[in-house]
Structures are given as C-alpha cells and as structure tokens.
Subunit: 491 residues, 2 copies
C-alpha cells in the first residue's frame, strides 16, 4: 500500500494531516484557508448531523435559516461582541463584475459599490436578534427554540483541516426566553446534549466546565464548554453553550410583555458545534494504520472482502457474502461488499484500516468449506474465525463492544492525563514532560491567567462543573484560591 502515514509518535501534527488527506476526509482548496470536505469526510458529518438534529428536536427545537450576510453596523451594537468578533472576517463591498475593458477576464465594477459593507457571518447572534425583534411581542411568542445548520467564515491566518479553517460548517442554536432561570436551564441542557453526543456517539470523554472571563464568548454572561483530550496531550474545545443574559436583547431592543403586562428584555442562549468535531474524532482514537471510527458514526460499519481464485470460487463466496450483507442490513448495519477484481485482498485490508471501518469480514475458500468467516476488529487489530451461523447477532454485539472499548480506552488515557500540581515549577514540568490537563489553584485574576499563558502557552480550559471546594494558593501568585481550575495547551 502506497499511502504510508507519518508515525504519530514521530510527528503528531504531520500524522494528523497525512491521515485526513490519505483517508479522503478533506483537502485544502484553491481558496486560502477553505477546505474541501470529501465524500468520506462528509459522510461522517452527515452522521453527526443526523444524530445531533434528532437530539435537538427531541428537546423541543426546530430549524430555520437566516441570511449569510450581516450589515457591518450590526456588529457594533453589542459592545463586547464587536471586540471579540467580526474583526477577522470576509467583507463584501461590491455586487457586480464587468468585462475587463483593457483585456481578458473580469474586474470589479466600481459603480456597484455597496452603501454599507456586508460581513459574511462569523456567527449569527446579531442578524438573528435583529430578526427576533419582529417575532417577539409578548410572553405568548416565547420561548423561541431555533437552530440553524450553516456555513460560517472567520478569517484565520493559520489554518488546519477541520481544526481551524476560514470557512467551516456548524449548527448554531439561538433561543429566547421569558426568564433568566429558563435560559440558564436551556444553556445547561444543551451542554448535556453535547456531552451525550461526544461521549456516547463519538466515544470521546469530556470535562464539563465554565470558561473564565477572558475565554468566554464575546457577548455572553457565561460560556459553558466541553473539553476533550487528544492523544498528544493537548485539549480541544468540542462544543460550547452560552448564557447570553439580556445582552443581545438590549443591543437589538427586543422586549416582551409578560403575563402581568410588564415590559422586559428577553433572555437568550446560543450554542454550537462545528466540523471541528471531525478533527477531534480523528485525533482522539486513530493510530498509525489510519482512522479508528466509533461504529455509531462510521459511514461503513462492516466491510466484506472476498479471497478467491477462479470464477467458481468467486461465485460461491459472493453468494455467502451477499447473504451475510442482507442479514446485517436487516439489523440496520451499514455493510459494504467490496467485490472489485481490480485490487488484491491485502490492498483492500490496508484501505479499510486506513478508513477506520470498525469490522472487516474476510471470506476465503476454507471458510466456505467450514461455514466460517474471519472477523477483524479495527480498534484492537485482532482477528477471529467464527461460524456463519448466528453472525447476524455476533456482529451487532461486536459493534457495541467496539464502541464501548473505544470510549473506555480514551477515558483511561484521559484520566491518566489529569495531574494535580501545587507549584509553578511542577506546573511547567508536567506541561512539558507529560502534557494533558493540569489541575491547579488560580487566584481568579485575568493578569495571572495572561502571565501563565505567556510563559507556558497553557490556557484555563474551564472551571470544571464538578469542582470540589478546596482551600489553596495560586500556583503562580501564591494568593488564596478556593478551588482548582483546569489548564492545558489546546487546539
């Protein structure tokens, strides 16, 4: 097999890039910072979308669609929002091209200049709250529980496939409520939805927490986050849910009449996950042979590879393979029977390993004789010969076992990579030698947070929601602290 990956122990970053490209997930496009999501990568995103969309609908949400463009002036309406957002963004200034009068090609028609520039949405709070203003008069119009599946653009200078791209795909929920309490409950509910998805579908264990003032969303009161750990010991923010208070309602003057006839500003939340999750999925589980996909999100869950010589044997094996395929499909399992005669079994084995197909079934002449098949697990790379009888029950159980094993392996690793430290020397040593999450006391000031980041590149990933109260001293300043916070270097 020609597609050799860089070993992850040698160069994790290069391993990741190789893998994304060689497993046909995505590639860089001709447009700086924008990726092409290839069919196999997009199939994973479709699986993610369908699971998340159902979770959103099961919790009472519905979808809608808002404009791609946002008038420039909208960003200035919420003071914190404009500081944190909308600086590095794509700006539309003209609406017409014309033939180049001096030669070939087309040029911008300077007569077609917009009065007010339009920003390609980096996030949609402003245009959505400007819309909600007309949707909300009284408490009867609340709650609004809308979600949008869309593309957004943030002009990033240093991009990496899935992890940081100028354009990416995401969903953004934007809800409106009568009370602070209801909005806070919504914020936490969606954090739990994301947690469920990350752990039980992606097989990625996460830590729930709240961001510090410096790390929170521009315009939020509180930003809740789920933080995952990659195999190189770096953290990755996998989803955020923001309690926005009345900030956007005030910026866009969105008031409602309560049951008692009192006018008040509406309470808001927003929450989102992105195609970055595909990057997290790759980095959390994969190995030097390629992707390791959790069965619940794998586009192909089982591949059947025939091993034969001669037409007669091929027909016999095909008949058996098709029977197995049908019996598994009837159980809702996605199966591919790769009967291409242009590639050898060894080539196919390597290809499906690279693509992370959870279970491979190989059928050869001896199997036909013995009424068996060879089953190979992608997660453990182990093989087993089993009887064809009852295989329609064996495979679903095996897929469950693989799903659990992938999660448990990631969980053991993650747990082994949370280190409590009590001095700044120890803090630096752990970060440099071991990596992972560092639990340390912090004095609660932005100044200390900035200095630690400056000296170590570690940021406060979150204040964990299940944090225990514990008297201590800030590892950096020595000032008193009441609980530990979670530091890490992060993607």
């Amino acid at each position: 097999m020609a597609k050799v990956l860089t070993k992850k122990e040698e160069n994790y970053s290069q391993w990741y890039n190789d893998l994304v490209i060689k497993a046909d997930l995505a590639e860089n496009s001709a447009v700086r910072g924008c990726m092409v999501i290839k069919p196999y990568g997009y199939a994973i995103w479709e699986k993610m979308q369908s699971v998340l969309d159902k979770m959103f609908k099961d919790t009472g949400h519905y979808n809608a669609y808002f404009p791609l463009f946002i008038p420039k002036s909208f960003f200035s309406k919420e003071a914190a929002h404009v500081e944190g957002f909308a600086k590095e963004c794509a700006i539309v200034t003209h609406y017409r091209l014309k033939n180049n009068p001096n030669g070939k090609g087309v040029v911008v028609d300077e007569d077609a200049k917009l009065e007010e520039e339009l920003i390609v949405r980096p996030t949609s709070e402003t245009i959505i709250w400007n819309t909600y203003k007309n949707w909300i008069q009284s408490y009867r119009d609340l709650p609004i529980l809308a979600n949008q599946w869309a593309n957004v653009v943030r002009w990033e200078m240093r991009t990496r496939l899935f992890l940081r791209t100028a354009e990416f795909l995401w969903q953004e929920g934007h809800t409106a409520h009568e009370t602070r309490d209801e909005a806070e409950k919504e914020t936490k509910q969606m954090l739990n939805v994301y947690t469920d998805f990350a752990q039980n579908w992606m097989g990625v264990p996460i830590i729930q927490g709240v961001k510090t003032e410096s790390e929170k969303f521009a315009g939020a009161i509180d930003t809740y986050t789920i933080e995952a750990l990659m195999q190189d010991g770096k953290a990755l923010q996998a989803g955020t849910s923001h309690f926005l208070g009345q900030n956007f309602a005030k910026a866009f003057d969105v008031k409602f009449a309560s049951k008692e006839g009192k006018l008040d500003y509406v309470w808001a939340t927003s929450w989102g996950v992105t195609t970055r999750l595909i990057g997290a999925l790759v980095m959390a589980h994969s190995d030097n042979n390629g992707l390791v996909l959790p069965p619940k999100l794998a586009p192909i869950q089982v591949v059947i590879v025939p091993i034969y010589r001669g037409q007669e044997m091929q027909d016999q094996i095909s008949e058996t393979a098709n029977k197995i395929k049908a019996s598994l499909e009837s159980k809702g399992i996605s199966v591919k029977f790769d009967n291409r005669d242009t590639h050898k079994p060894g080539f196919k084995f390597a290809e499906y390993e690279l693509k992370g197909v959870p279970v491979r079934i190989a059928i050869g002449p001896k199997d036909i004789e013995n009424n068996t098949v060879e089953i190979a697990r992608r997660d453990t790379l182990t093989k087993d010969t089993v009887s064809i009888e009852g295989i329609e029950n064996v495979i679903p159980d095996l897929l469950d076992e693989i799903q659990n094993n992938i999660f448990n392996k990631a969980l053991s690793f993650r747990n082994s990579m949370i280190t409590k430290v009590d001095s700044f020397d120890e803090f630096k040593d752990v970060l440099n030698d071991k990596g992972g999450f560092v639990l340390a006391h912090w004095d609660g000031t932005k100044d200390t947070e900035d200095r630690i980041k400056g000296e170590t590149k570690a940021t406060i990933r979150c204040i964990p929601l299940d944090v225990e109260k514990e008297e201590g001293k800030c590892v950096y300043s020595g000032k008193p602290s009441k609980f530990r916070v979670l530091f890490a270097k992060a993607y």
Copy 2:
C-alpha cells in the same frame, strides 16, 4: 382571525406574498434580497431535502462540500460561463475590520485587501472542476457522482420570497464521466428524478424538455428542464439538469487515461433544484384560505383540535385524542394535538387552514358520546363524521387520496392551459386572455425568439421531449418548422 389574505383572483402576486408571510414560511431580512426562512417554511425544505437526498443516494450519488468562495479568475476560464454568470454577484475584497479611529463602530481595514477578489459562489462548476482536476487521473477514478447541499448568492435587483432571492439554498450535483453517452444518461436520469419528485411528492405536474440556445445554462451543451404551471397561468422552471460536455474539463484541464491508455477530457453534468420549489408548491395548490400542502411534504399531516367545556370533558377528549395520535404515529404519520387553552377552536381551524395541514380531526362532546370524530379535508374543505374504530386505516387512505387529488386537480388545470396556436395574433390573444402554455411553431432562430419575447414577454420554456414531428410554419416569421415548442410567460 386577523390574518386575512388578499384574494388570489384580485391580485395573485399580493396573494402569494401575503400567504408566504402569514403562513410563517419566510420573510424579508434586514439584508437586501436575502430572506429568513422561518421554522414552518424550513420544515418543508427539510422534508424536500430528505426525500431528494434519498433519491440521489438510491441512484449512486454521495454528498461533499466545496468552498463558499471562488477566486475571481476562475470565472473567466470557461468563456460562455463568465458571460452568463458571475456578473451580478457578491464580491469579497477585504478580510478585516478595525475600530473606527474617528468615532464609534467599525470600518473596513484598507490594509487587509485581498490580492485577488473572491466571489461568493453563484454556482460551483468552476471551483469543483478545479478540484476534480486533482481527483481524476485514470478511468479508475470515474465516475464521480457528488452532490452538494449549500447556499448560493446571485445579486438580484428585483427579489421575491423563495422565487427570486439574492441568497438561496439548493443542491447542486456535479458528476464526471468517461464517456459522452454515460454523461448524457446521467443528465436524463436526474431529470427523471426531479420529475418523480415534482409529480409524486409535490403533486405538481411538469413538462420535460430541453432549453433553447439562449435559455440554456452558461457553459452547457444541453440544458434539460422540468416546467410547471402556476395557478395564474405563468410557468415556473422547477429544476434543471445540464449536459456540460467537455467544456469545464477543457477549461480546467481535467483529463483521464482510458483503459487503453489514451488521454481524453472528462465528460460532465450538473443538476440542481432550489428553495424556489417551496414557492412553486405554494403557488401550484393554495387557495384563498391559505396553503394547501400535499400530505407527503406537509410538516404536520394531521392536526387534532379538541372542542370542550369544563375540565372533565377536556380530560375525556384528551384521552381519546392522545390514543388517536399514538395510533396514527405508529403508522408513520406526523400528528399535532393542539390542546392550547389560550385559543378557541375556530381560531385554530383557521390557523391550520392557513398553514395547509391536510387533515383536521375535531373531537367534541357528541363525538365522545358516539365514538366518532369529525374529519375535515384541507384540499376540498369538506367534512365528514366517522367512527373512531378503524381510524388508523381511514386516515392513511385519506392522505393518499388527498395527495392524488391535489396532483390530479393541478394536472387537469395544467392540461386545460396548453393551447396550440397557428398565428401570432392567436399567440398574443391566448397569452393575454387565457395565459398558460402555448404550443407554437418556431423557426429555430435566436432572432425570432428574442422578438417574440420583446413583444409578448413570453419565452420558450422548452422543446418538449415528447414533441411530435409536424410540418408547420413559424408563428412569427412564417419560415418552415418541424415541431412545436412550448412558450409561456414565466417566473
């Protein structure tokens, strides 16, 4: 009920606008020409997407995602394409805002000017064929059968919700093939998929045909179309499938090595439908009471409205309603039980008529006594009292009957609106007095086509695929013609 529609006989255009707004399908946004698709309208789009996506996958296609932005120079590479496209479009020229040094708000940072402007995609042939260049080396890499669900932008000066907006949602299939024959078959296959969808799901009868040189897609060899008729007698292009020949392969230098080792340019197709279909759905079936939705695409297929006084009666009716709901849902029918006590039954009746819910079930005290319910059909506005026994079979049959009735009604109307004419006076009379499709002889020249359009606003919608050979004379020029073509005024 406060939401009164303009009558369609009085002002069809205003009736359409009223209906789209009042049925909560969509509204204009703060951004010129861009719409907000509201939850109820988006739910229809989701149904359309899910049906079409399955049809695409059943015919061997898969999804992928390509960049929102296209470098300006790409449009100039295919000569016809740049003439027809990419003139009226959104142009990104800068990538950063900065705080306004002279006061409040933000301004474009002139230091952040792009070297080459980026165009927000009006269609993706150019960026996709630039990508395919790297995907295709030999016949083994073919066919490519990719589809993209995305937003696109065409800067329209006169916009109408769903029918013509600056930004709209669509799918665009882009396939690559070894042979001309295979690409032509693909083009026709997708035209048939669109036909199936329009007729059997939307309930909209269509005429399949091929566009004239002036009306075809910029860069295509042949554009196939499905043409529908709206209730005001105007035509609407509901979907197109383009045979692109080797035009884009030549423009982007995409060659493949055949089995025999010969290098040749790749053959291409593209095909798409848009959120415009929602406009077609509205205009094809609805009436002065509101939307009439075909059951197969209705977000809510059955609504149950209770009619009661007092708590005890309410409880009894709710129990019955919930039983009916569960039994229908077990058959895959989407049911809403509207038990709001803030609105009266009459208000609810009007609301669900406006929203086009195909079947309404009302349950009152007498129904509880008699073990019956009242069933109202949205398409015919007729009512019937039926026994609750067996209702789980009555309703699915009724939904099928409504689906068929909606299609047949539209078909009778459409057939009554195809008129053969043999002189230009007759041509103009039919267009002005009756409207609809006009079948007339045409001499095959662009000049005649342009003159007819100039004098009557009618365009050649298509040369029908099932056209009969018939010697005749062009209604305009009197020159000889071998078959009739289909004219109409169109959206």
